[in-house]
């Protein structure tokens, strides 16, 4: 029963912090609430018995990506509101589109029969050993070839952001 309460609590927190990311006025608050949102998602992972991913998620997202974002906010001194915050037609359309999108997806998938799903028997999945086995057997090629992606991203980032005299 506790797990039910935890589930609802985490879900509410995720949704509220996600909304805060979108609607908050200052970029710093957006970044911070996105970090909160990532932590709640990590909580969901733990509830789903995916501890390895939960840790990786916190390290990669909250640790690396969000710190990079915070650095950018500080570096570019962006912590001020850009433009007007009036509720105009574009924004109304954005909200409507988002809402419709949600309704359409939910409507189209809610009737799906999830016949092959059983309650999580807390099977032996989601630990480091299991994911490691997958990564180094079935998914060896994507795992290795991601290095190409990383090298490319690295060169690109250096190419674009390095300061240089004209």
């Amino acid at each position: 029963m506790e797990s039910t309460i935890v589930f609802y609590l985490l879900s509410a927190l995720s949704v509220i912090s996600a909304l805060f990311v979108v609607f908050s006025r200052s970029p710093i608050y957006s970044v911070l609430s996105l970090i909160v949102c990532f932590f709640t998602i990590a909580g969901h992972y733990i509830m789903l018995n995916a501890q390895f991913l939960a840790i990786i998620h916190i390290i990669v997202y909250a640790g690396a990506i969000m710190v990079l974002m915070l650095f950018t906010v500080m570096l570019l001194n962006l912590n001020k509101e850009l433009g007007t915050h009036k509720f105009n037609l574009t924004k109304l359309m954005a909200v409507i589109t988002g809402g419709l999108m949600f309704l359409v997806i939910i409507a189209s998938v809610k009737s799906s029969s999830l016949a092959n799903y059983q309650a999580p028997a807390y099977l032996n999945i989601g630990n480091a050993e299991d994911i490691g086995m997958k990564l180094f057997t079935d998914y060896l090629l994507p795992f290795e070839i991601s290095s190409v992606l990383f090298v490319s991203a690295m060169i690109s980032a250096v190419l674009l952001a390095k300061k240089e005299v004209k």
Binding site: P142, I145, V151, L159
Partner: protein, 456 residues
Amino acid sequence: MNTLIYTSVLGFGLMVLEVLKLRKWISPAIILGLSLIFGINIHDWNQPGSYMGNMLEISNFTVAFNALAIFITLLIAMLASEYYSDEEHHISDYMAIMTFVLCGAQMMLGYANLVLFFIGIETLSISLYALSGSKRFDAKSNEAGFKYFLMGSFASGFLLFGIALMYGATQSFDLNKLAEYAMGTSVSPLFLTGLLLVLFALFFKVSAAPFHFWAPDVYEGAPSIITAFMSTLVKVVGFAAFYKFLHVFGYLIPVKFDWLITLVAILSLVTGNLSALAQENFKRLMAYSGISHAGYLLIGLVGAAAFPSSAILYYGLGYSLSTIGAFAIAMAVFKSTGSESISAFNGLGKKNPVLAACLTATMLGLAGIPPFAGFFGKFYIFSEAIQNGHFYLVLVGILSSMIGIYYYMKVVIAMYAKPANETKIEISLTNQLVMWLCLVLVLLIGIMPSLVTGLF
């Protein structure tokens, strides 16, 4: 499999050359390397197989499109060695990133698992975001790169959501298992919604209307060489991956989503051709022309299970060669006039008659006038579509190619009918070589289509 490995090794090798201070060997190395890889790739012909636990699948389809992708990259690399000659300290970066784009393309062509497909599409896109924004002191180029980045990653969000829903229905990313599921009696709504979202993302990648908004801006702002690269490689590879994706599911997609593909094809034809009429900038014109060509190719994807892949290969080859040929000339013109609008071509017919004749030929090729490859490519696609009973689509296609002739002629008219305002255009030897190569090949396969269509 070997092709992919050697391509990534080539990319790393180019950076090693930079580290060893052998900068002037980089251009020869990439040209030589790509030619070798072309040979290695051809060696896989008629040797189908699946590798690494059915991650990568090599078939004649893959080999043929790989060969096309490698050839495009080779031509672009030759042009790039000229284009970047005044920016030598960055040439290794550009060349290496281009090679990595090719790696991504090969993953997209050979995928047998959606994980590899995703990694491939992202390798290709992330490298291209950077290349489009690579003119760092040009606000236009920055803007192009950034727009491409924002919209591209938005689209990959949808792609991922689609893949996740499909996984939810099937518990697998393996194409064989997905195909098995799709052939089964009951297909879950999860799966169909997932398919739909993946289709949206693919439409975005091949810049089909109404998912085309990024294309004109990005093509205009990006450096010309990258525009040539994007408009050929990404489009051809995107369509090949699209074709493969549709083909896997047999008749499931034709039954469920043919209306969508038909709609997008008609919209692309109409928007692409009509918007192109109003363009004054050559690169924007090429962007809209690319959108309309996406429309023609999409006609080929309606009812994909009944359609031969050689039509897509042939059309892609004709389109890429004509476009690269046009850009080889246009880049020389842009460089000496400093303008990218169609008026930059004014009077080219008097100043450089040979160049003007060649550019006219490529434009006619794109417009689909015989004896160039563009004509037979369209003819092939239309006749296949008629056999499958899509008369109205062919009608829209024919009408819009008539509009197409008009705006391609705009460039030709500028060259011959408008007065000259500049001195003679200097064109480098490399550009001339690429231009002649493209032209001869376009004519050759235009006259003897069976060279390509007879392959498989």
